[in-house]
Symmetry: C2
Subunit: 202 residues, 2 copies
């Protein structure tokens, strides 16, 4: 033996495809799955199938939606459509939604520019963003790509291509995290925090 | 919003059922699943369904097998059937199989005695072990339950009930792990390592 039986091996291999799951974790997941009841397994399997079947892309923001047509946020009339927050991936929308004061809309890029990975503007939802800009009525685009070199490059690129449309383009501020300890901040972050310092009394 | 769309929420909830998977990890898994191709999703879903459909229990050792009837190890004629290594769960067989010198068979208990969790001998595959003992031809039972109080209790219990059959019952040795550092061994392990010390020249 020294090998798991075929159906278990297959299950382990499937779990290994998940991000950050190594051999041991996959084995743990596979045996936990084996312990589930038959109807639970069917429910689990159906939820996975549903990932394609029940999920659609919003034609406006390129985010995900359960119904065809515009997503919940894009069709929410209490949202400010003149404000667009550009994020890398659909799940970043949920991250930004934690900022309860933000009542604008979103645009999902689907990644960032990365020459190394051969990802150019054509691979991202850039033309959809330009289409929104061309339609007019956009006041500001807040670029919320990750604080990485690729995220910065992408933000600068978007600022440049949106220039003709008279739209203000901004980027999330860099700085020390609230509640963090200066001692543990890296020097690049500290440098950015110095650069972006706020003066009192203004 | 502030909530994921229904099919994603469903998928997140399914992944949260896996051991050690919290909210953030489940979200990560769900979005990684979303990124899979349709045929990959079907394959994943089918592997999960297969966990019940294609996995059977060996009538001899209570381990898992892909075919009905005896498992691969129990039907391997190069294995010594007079030697049984008792393990808690089917996956522990694979752990023990790493000890390549072991050529006996196994018996999966399906847990350990635990009055707190209301697990008695009737909930474990104890009667199947007794049936094997009654059939005769068993020389030794090596109890490889985990080094926990419940594991110890279970080992002692098995030793007692196997007494009438004239079978030697042993337990895996406690001690410091090979390659480990004495500094990091806890005092109970050190105490057991002292107790089980080997004399040179014997």
């Amino acid at each position: 033996m020294a090998e798991y039986i075929a159906p278990i091996k297959r299950l382990i291999e499937e779990f290994r495809k998940l991000p950050g799951v190594g051999a041991k974790t996959a084995v743990r997941y596979a045996f936990a799955t084996l312990a589930l009841e038959e109807h639970e397994l069917e429910q689990f399997a159906d939820a996975i199938i549903g990932a394609k079947r029940d999920v659609h892309t919003c034609p406006v923001c390129c985010g995900l939606t359960a119904s065809e047509g515009k997503c919940e946020i894009c069709s929410d009339e209490y949202r400010d459509p003149s404000l667009i927050c550009v994020v890398e991936s659909p799940k970043d929308i949920m991250v930004m939604e934690k900022v309860r004061s933000y009542r604008g809309t979103y645009h999902v890029l689907g990644g960032v520019l990365s020459p190394i990975d051969n990802i150019s503007a054509d691979d991202l939802n850039v033309k959809e963003l330009i289409a929104r800009a061309e339609q007019g009525g956009i006041r500001e685009v807040i670029v919320a790509t990750n604080p990485t070199p690729s995220g910065d490059t992408t933000a600068a690129y978007l600022a440049r291509i949106l220039e003709p449309y008279n739209i203000e383009v901004s980027r999330l501020a860099y700085g020390i995290p609230v509640g963090g300890d200066i001692e543990y901040a890296d020097e690049v972050t500290l440098h950015r925090a110095m650069e972006g310092r706020k003066y009192f009394g203004n």
